[in-house]
Amino acid sequence: MHPEYEYRYDGHQGKVPGAQTGIEIRKTICSICNPLSHCGVDAYVKDGVVVKVEGSKENPHSGGTLCSKGNANRQYIYHKDRIRTPLVRKGDRESGHFIPISWNDALDLIAKRFLKIKEESGPESVVFYAGFPKWMRPFLKRLAHSFGSPNYCTESSTCFRASFMGAALNYGAMGPGDVARSKCLLVWSSNPFYSNTNLARGILDARERGLKIIDVGPLITPLTAHADIHLRIRPGTSGALALSIANVIIEEGLYDHDFVQNYTLGFEEYREYVAQFTPGVAEEITGVPAAKIIEAARLYATTKPACMMTSASPTTHHTNGLQNHRAIVALVGLTGNYDVAGGNLVVPPAYLYQQSPGLVTREPEFEQSRKWEQMAPRIGQAQHPAWCRLVPEAQAMQLPFDIQSGKPYPIRAMLGFGLNYRMWPGQDFMEASLKKLDFLVDVDIFMTDTAKLADVVLPACTSFERSELKFYPQQYVIWTKPVIRPLWESRSDAEIIFDLARRLVPDDGLMQKGYEACIDWMLEPTKLTLEELKKHPAGYTVTGAKAPPFQKYKKNGFATPSKKMEFTSTILAETGYDPLPIYKEPKLSPRSAPEVAKEFPLILTTGSRLPMFIHSRTFRLDWTRSLRPDPLLDMNPKDAHERGIAQEDWVRLSTPRNSIKVKANLTEIVPPGVVSMYHDYPEASVNLLVEPDYRDPISGFPGFKSLLCEVKKLMEGNV
């Protein structure tokens, strides 16, 4: 615990702000989870210490609310595991022995090593990586490319980018559902109640106004109780269900004839392909009764307008995930719900993945300071060409393979922000690969297991201790001011990047002007300036920003090679894949691998969100950890009883690759035959069970959400 924090306020006085208590409210944002939330925070500060947090009512997005993680911000900020000073490793990577070093010495050392490696093996030998949180990404990407390295990669190599690709291959771009104006919501494997609470609140409001809801997914989520229809698929079979829904819509003539005839490519091939996915066939594959498939198809196709909501990765964390996702999002165009009010809108992001209609920054131009053609091929270029056509990053899932093989060129050094090897399938392979690097730098808030492998560790501060730019969908924007000074010697990620830029990329004139000048440069098209934003510490709602019009494709076409919505993808054909959104079984499923299924008969799905955790980030906080203290495996009571397993028995969860010790949680959240395990538990990390190459060949995404496993009761520890 930080010494400043030894002081504890007497809770019985209620922490009421005011002159009497000396508590002042300062405005910031929570950055524990992803940019679609980043809820506004009122930090209650007394004598320079945060004594309480609550949601900011000025923030129209979060409206004064916070989730179970956001309320635990104090334990996050003042955690004993925070890195206090820059550190340099002494001894080998296994020793975990570090000594403090000054900021100047640390930054000089990093620059010296990176520049030497650049000289010896080329700038591409240095990898720049951004994990969670995502806020430093624009600056890091620019630093990488100005340095000359194409190898800027992120945690998005397992998150969101494949769904983005699916939509981009079909349409060029597609936005989220316009729930507020919609009459029917098709939710495809998404649980916003645990991942995007502000969106969930809006869905409940719309439901009370009569919104129809179709819920697709193997698990029961808090949304399921609000659904008119729940299509409870076997994990990994989304594609077959989507193709069958298309089959019904086309057979019954419920599709949008005008859209299909005038604005699409490959409809005839698509129609022919989906013909085989009759509801009866789909029932056999997905486990969803044919009658329910028909009912859902009719409801979605005939209730206008209807919108679709997918999530960051549940549909794409499968070995056929990208094509499954293409089949899903094809339904939007097929039913004429593309870029219409109440359908799925196309609004370009304002900044850092968040939309703010009518406001668009120059973030992409800022980031891409050097063209791809002027750099070496990216990591993943050979293996995932479609990714490289659409995603302006390297594919980080390929990284450990390239480190190990040294091909097509040696990868020797890495600068990671929030790097966590547990994110990779077969995490031990990634861990071993990181150990092979000549020089590893990790910037993090806490001394993580990955940071312990680094040669130099730099302490980053939290969102409460820095200034950052944040846009929200309500055309509300905030430039935060630190509510407390950075603890110990920690610094803002941005400050670290710009300090490195001075040493690594002296020729990048814009970066040399510093952090705030770069923000102003990106803001230019919005007419906003930091000078103006600084006058509004509680944020600012932009007036006069005009949302883009609907059905822009009628005038501009689609941002695809054919300028049409592509049922048959030109890019996939050109990169050697099937242009149709074909269905394939997960590589490890009871149908595709019956021999494996004899010994491992259960389907393992991992990483489905829990409300108190976000990846690895809040396990170490007592307040969040106490809400689910043990590594629990969700298991249907039927499967448990067949194996003699009772609630909270210790069990061994095994795949052909490895096994972990977890506790059984008997629940109907999972259907019989399926078990669900949250990822990243430090003591029971489920990614150990997944092969490093168990991935979708097109997107490179791991098949985290459908593979085979078995669960056995452990005799020891259950007495």
């Binding site: 504890r8 306020y9 809770g11 019985h12 209620g14 922490k15 009421v16 005011g18 309480k52 947090v53 609550e54 949601g55 004064g64 609310t65 916070l66 989730c67 179970s68 993680k69 956001g70 309320n71 635990a72 911000n73 104090r74 334990q75 009459k183 109640f193 645990y194 609470t197 502000n198 969930a200 609140r201 409940l204 409001d205 009370e208 106004r209 009569g210 029961i220 808090p222 399921t224 109780a225 609000h226 409870r232 409300p611 108190m612 906080l621 007592d622 307040w623 969040t624 950890r625 106490s626 809400l627 203290p629 249907n636 009571p637 039927k638 629940t667 109907e668 959240i669 259907p671 019989p672």
Partner: protein
């Protein structure tokens, strides 16, 4: 009943079991993070596959009208505030005997440091200053509310009335006319 009584409202259909109410309470009350909690969230499952219903309930001290904890406390450490009906514990009088815990039907009394009883005090210091209880403020789905209980029941009746009218006039529902959340 003429004495004013504050209470929580809870909308079963909106609770997602996210436990934000619990962590807001931890933060407000500097709870130790060892499992002690003034608020509990339960998952209630009924049925078996494929006909299953899963609901979540968030409960804290109900600040009962005729509170059994007040009645059983041997040292008169518990009392109801006359101005708002909140059940309060006087830690100087509490002897940590757990009698209140045995009498309470909701599991409200807690003994976080192993000695005196602590429980939800309705964030009384905040509420008397015009602020919300921490749990109701944070609730992401607005399942939790608070206020004088007469007002809470009135608001529920109003919302239900709109729903009834809406069933005869779907256009009203589509426009969301007059629907105010309790």
């Amino acid at each position: 009943m003429n004495t004013p009584q504050l209470g929580f409202s809870f909308d079963l259909s909106r609770c997602s079991g996210c436990m934000a109410c619990m962590s807001a309470c931890f933060d407000q009350n500097d709870m130790p993070g060892n499992g002690s909690t003034f608020r509990h969230v339960s998952r209630i499952e009924t049925g078996t596959y494929p006909s299953v219903s899963i609901r979540y309930v968030s409960l804290a001290c109900m600040h009962c009208g005729d509170a059994p904890c007040v009645a059983v406390c041997p040292n008169r450490a518990l009392s109801k505030r006359p101005d708002n009906g909140i059940v309060e514990v006087n830690k100087d009088l509490c002897i940590g005997c757990h009698a209140c815990a045995t009498a309470c039907p909701f599991g409200a009394p807690q003994f976080p440091e192993g000695s005196f009883m602590r429980k939800c005090d309705f964030c009384v210091a905040r509420v008397t200053q015009g602020l919300e209880p921490a749990c109701a403020r944070t609730c992401p789905t607005k399942a939790l509310g608070f206020g004088p209980i007469e007002k809470l029941t009135e608001d529920k009746a109003k919302a239900a009335s709109v729903k009834i009218v809406s069933s005869f006039n779907p256009n009203l529902a589509a426009l969301g006319v007059g629907l105010t959340k309790p």
